[in-house]
Subunit: 307 residues, 2 copies
């Protein structure tokens, strides 16, 4: 037992619980109440967003905000926006015309619970809400210039050169084998773009001049590396966990004949690759000084989720 | 024949063609080329947006921008954003789980041409692109403060209290009879919100102090009235036109047992209602002075489309 490590871990766990609680309350307040018309749509939007998920992206936003001394109220807005985009993508991704999945975060997926048409509208409305919440960051004291930059960053990450584009590449890749480069391009967009945007947006919510040009570059490399690590670990968990642990259907990628890091490299090499990325991510953070501590702790959490 | 009227009409037709051409070029430039990966997604996005539609919303943006002396390059951005949101809503609305329509703007709908999964991603990516294009208006000289206001306006109009919410009410209303109030609430959100946003966004792209508080209020009333008139005329056209003229499946609302102004009031009374709204819209514009001329001409075009 190492008391110093224990104390640090305890602090991290307090910090991350506090962040998750803040973001949950902020999401709660930005989502229209289920009593507001159209009630069924609002009920479904709340079902899709609240009370579930690991909130990895909101934690990344808050951890990156520490680097530039961003105000927590502003970070809450950015964190909500990113989580709303993530939640919408899950709702659409689960639809029958996409992955046709019935279980998410341990509950029936939105289209199973509310019907396909509502699920589509839930996703559409959540995306719009994400940008509305971000535009409102002006009222929390973020400069309009920074707000427009953060909005542009999120829109790019969500669009056809980001997340939606990654999904499209994924669609076209089912049943055929990809090279590692192609797989990285797909995941870099599908999952990595939004994770990287979380980090960039969090840092952009504070004082940009607290970081040098070299530090911004190290942060960008870190964002890319941790996004990739996240996906490699996801692929490993998909083959080695059961559905109860995952909260979503396990073994789905294999069943759907989707290319993954495990199908490409085998399980052992995929684990080794995750370890390498983990080390690289920490090398990037070492250039950012002590205020990168929360990002370092989150990196450990992402990579060590379950193995 | 009234020569002055003829000259004015000719000027309007030149102006509207010029606007539509500008907006088409701007949409062209903001949409990624079909050669950019993922190619199929980009091809489908371009198919959904370019070379079709009456561009009513972009024309409203430009016409409202005249009121506050907004720069055309800035209005092009706002016009593109509104049209991208409109185009995405059509793509999603046509999907089998929604209206299940096969014809749009005289062409097969996106899901018929590209498949359902691509159609969903096309809509998702177009919505993100709309906000990216707006955020970029800073580079055209619009103040960041105005950019955030215009983004908030569009996000509200597109979201669960606007367009997506109207769709949800529409979903829930199929097969049951609505009162005129309920019908107005539904259309006010489904169609009216985005038309009204087009007008507000156009005016917000210029110098706000060119309009008094009373004039801003008259503009808001105009926006609401013209949005309603648009929908009443749409309902009339749905029963009295054929699919070739409409460019979409005619008689679809009746076939789907959807409540419309015609089913609620009968054809004659719906026409009378359209005439009343037309007159009310002009009364609002009369308070805005001569710079509202393009809006007045557009109002005539919207109401007199085909009857």
């Amino acid at each position: 037992m190492n008391t110093i490590t224990d104390a640090a871990e305890s602090t991290f766990s307090l910090w991350s619980r506090d962040c998750a609680d803040r973001v949950e309350r902020a999401l709660e307040s930005h989502l229209p109440a289920a009593s507001v018309s159209p009630q069924r749509l609002h009920e479904a939007m709340r079902y899709a967003v609240l009370g579930g998920g690991k909130r990895v992206r909101p934690l990344l936003v808050h951890a990156a905000g520490v680097l530039t001394g961003a105000r927590p109220e502003i970070l809450d807005r950015a964190a909500c926006a990113v989580e709303l985009i993530h939640a919408y993508s899950l709702v659409h991704d689960d639809l029958p015309c996409m992955d046709d999945d019935v279980l998410r975060r341990g509950k029936p997926t939105v289209h199973v619970a509310f019907g396909e048409a509502q699920a589509m509208l839930v996703g559409d409305a959540l995306q719009a809400l994400a940008f509305e919440v971000l535009a409102g960051a002006v009222s929390e004291g973020l400069s309009p210039q920074a707000v427009t930059e953060v909005i542009a960053c999120l829109a790019r990450a969500a669009g056809s050169l980001g997340m939606a584009g990654g999904q499209a590449i994924d669609l076209e890749s089912v049943g055929r084998s990809l090279t590692q480069d192609e797989l990285e391009t797909m995941h870099g967009r599908k999952t990595g773009a939004l994770l990287a945007a979380s980090i960039q947006m969090g840092a952009a919510c504070g004082q940009a001049d607290r970081l040098s040009g070299d530090m911004w570059q190290a942060l960008a490399r870190f964002a890319q590396t941790v996004g990739l690590a996240f996906q490699v670990v996801d692929d490993i968990l998909d083959v080695q966990s059961d559905s109860v642990t995952l909260g979503k259907t396990a073994g789905k990628d294999t069943q759907d004949n989707k290319p993954t890091y495990v199908s490409l490299m085998g399980l052992d090499e995929a684990r080794e690759f995750a370890r390498t990325l983990h080390a690289q991510a920490h090398q990037c953070l070492a250039q950012l000084g002590p205020s990168a501590r929360r990002l370092a702790e989150l990196t450990d959490l992402i990579v060590h989720r379950s193995f």
